[in-house]
Amino acid sequence: MRKEVLIGGFGGQGVILASVILGRAAAVYEGLYAVQTQAYGPESRGGASRAEVVISDEPIDYPKALAPDYAVLLSQQAYEKYLPLVKKGGIVILEKELVPNRNEELEKNFKVFAIPLTKVAEETTGLSLTMNILTLGVLVKLTSVVSEESIEKAVLDSVPKGTENINLKALRKGFELGEKAKNGEL
């Protein structure tokens, strides 16, 4: 079972942290193998940001995504660059308001869920920066790549002290949205 996740957006959206939390949930709380890598450059803040997580029940050879099973695309640029890499039939989560120009033909190859993630995060917690945690909730619910319990624990390990409750709130809202998305109720 090798599962590849790609998260793309821009610096400041919490792309890297989301990938670290996902990898941690798999590695520490599910006892799986996991590798997290990121495009790392001096231009990271504000510029394009990309992180990958590979999860497997056996040792991971090549540590990067070859054809992601799941992709979270949080900017127009990430959408254009990474959507074509996604595995046929893969699950794609889009930040609806930040990806205004869509390629419907290409999207037919995937299961695409477009959600105004930042807006929902702001409505849920009052903080748009909880969007990355909310998105993890959506991803986990839609893909079961790790369990809800594991991702909760990994979130609690990783967020700043004093912000546990709002982050859990964001995560659970993500679960709720993921459930709706699964049932076609979005």
Binding site: G23, A27, V28, A34, Q36, T37, P42, I60, D61, Y62
Partner: protein
């Protein structure tokens, strides 16, 4: 002893962080460094942890000072480490030679980035392989280890300290920006589960008189620690068994340098470490190390799925080098590919080892991106057509 990080448990951390934690578990209590991408996280972790384990982490004026401080700390009895990358590694070359000549145990981590010069600071490369082995001047030998995963970075850091102490030599941990920055699951054993080595100390006054001789017949003399009651003279000049400079005597020079080289070369069996996959029935062998070995591993699996009998030799130790092993492989395969992130360095060592018994080809990649498995597969299939 309480550790400022989880022990006896798994964690999800970067390669650099794993190196810092492993060093502390191996007993390292002195770190000197100068920040440089992509090795800075090692320094950051050391600065955070060392005060909590009664150790020292100090920022020096540059990399020359960093390795000099580490040499001094080692002679004062501490297990000591420094870490750097390309430009800093170049600056350390002179004192690396001093550490070899004075038989000073230390661990030097090079988180390789792309060069020459300041190159591509944030991107990985394997262009310092030859420098790690031969970068300091004069006849010498030392030990170079190279990890491919974060767990290996952890485990090999502990091994690096053990080998440094056992053989009274600098050990280089040659890793790269990919392994240094990637996060993976790491199991950190409880220190009680670890076998740790500390340098041989002089048993008495008489033994302490010969810190550069061979009084035990194993080529590794006991090391008198500064401040423990012995007078010891330590110099980078050619010296006799007692440490006194003897700079024009050919016999003394030959005896000293041959022993320093011999204590590594004669213990190849103990030091060398590698892994193989599918080599038993292979027609094609790929030799690789570090991060690239993981691409090569996947390439071998994919080639085998297509009915091509490929095998992998993944080197965990780059020096001392097992030329005989390469020759044995060359006798059994048609072709050997060397996949590395440089313009051909390991390639030359493998070619020498193969001794004309198999064709040796280079699969080179520079610019910061690791070879994809597909790239390696395509190249080999193209040659087979």
């Amino acid at each position: 002893m309480r550790y400022p990080f989880p022990v006896g448990d798994a964690d999800f951390i970067q390669g650099d962080e794993a190196i810092a934690r492993a060093a502390i578990l191996a007993g390292c209590r002195f770190y000197a460094g100068y920040p440089i991408t992509p090795a800075s996280e090692i320094f950051e972790a050391m600065s955070l942890y060392m005060p909590l384990v009664d150790g020292v982490s100090i920022q020096m004026e540059d990399e020359i000072g960093s390795i000099a401080a580490v040499i001094g700390a080692s002679w004062a009895g501490a297990k000591a480490m420094t870490a750097t990358s390309g430009p800093g590694f170049s600056l350390m070359m002179e004192n690396l030679g001093y550490a070899i000549m004075t038989e000073t145990p230390l661990v030097l981590v090079n988180v390789q980035r792309s060069g020459p010069s300041t190159g591509q600071p944030t991107l990985a490369a394997q262009g310092d392989l030859m420098q790690a082995i031969w970068g300091t001047h004069g006849d010498h030998s030392l030990i170079v280890l190279t990890p491919a995963t974060v767990q290996e970075a952890f485990d090999m850091t502990i091994r690096a300290f053990n080998l440094a102490e056992k053989y009274r030599t600098p050990v280089i941990l040659l890793t790269d920006a990919e392994v240094g920055h990637m996060r993976e699951r790491v199991y950190a054993p409880h220190p009680d589960e670890l076998e740790l080595v500390y340098r041989k100390l002089p048993a008495n006054e008489e033994e302490a008189k010969y810190p550069f001789g061979d009084i035990h017949g194993d080529l590794v003399p006991p090391m008198p620690i500064f401040g423990k009651g012995y007078r010891t003279y330590v110099t980078g000049l050619t010296h006799d068994e007692r440490g006194r400079p003897k700079t024009v005597d050919a016999e003394i020079h030959e005896r000293l340098v041959k022993r320093i080289v011999g204590k590594i070369e004669n213990n190849k069996k103990d030091i060398i470490d590698y892994e193989t996959y599918g080599l038993e029935d292979a027609d094609i062998a790929i030799v690789s190390f570090g991060i690239v070995a993981r691409s090569a591993m996947r390439a071998v699996k994919e080639l085998r799925k297509e009915g091509i009998n490929a095998g992998l030799l993944k080197l965990n130790v780059l020096w001392p080098f097992d030329f005989e092993l390469i020759e044995k492989i060359a006798e059994n395969v048609e072709r050997i590919y060397v996949a590395e992130m440089n313009l051909g360095q390991l390639y030359h060592m493998v070619k020498e080892g193969a001794n004309g018994k198999a064709k040796v080809e280079l699969i080179s990649r520079i610019g910061g991106e690791v070879h994809t498995p597909g790239e390696i597969v395509e190249r080999i299939k193209r040659d087979l057509r």
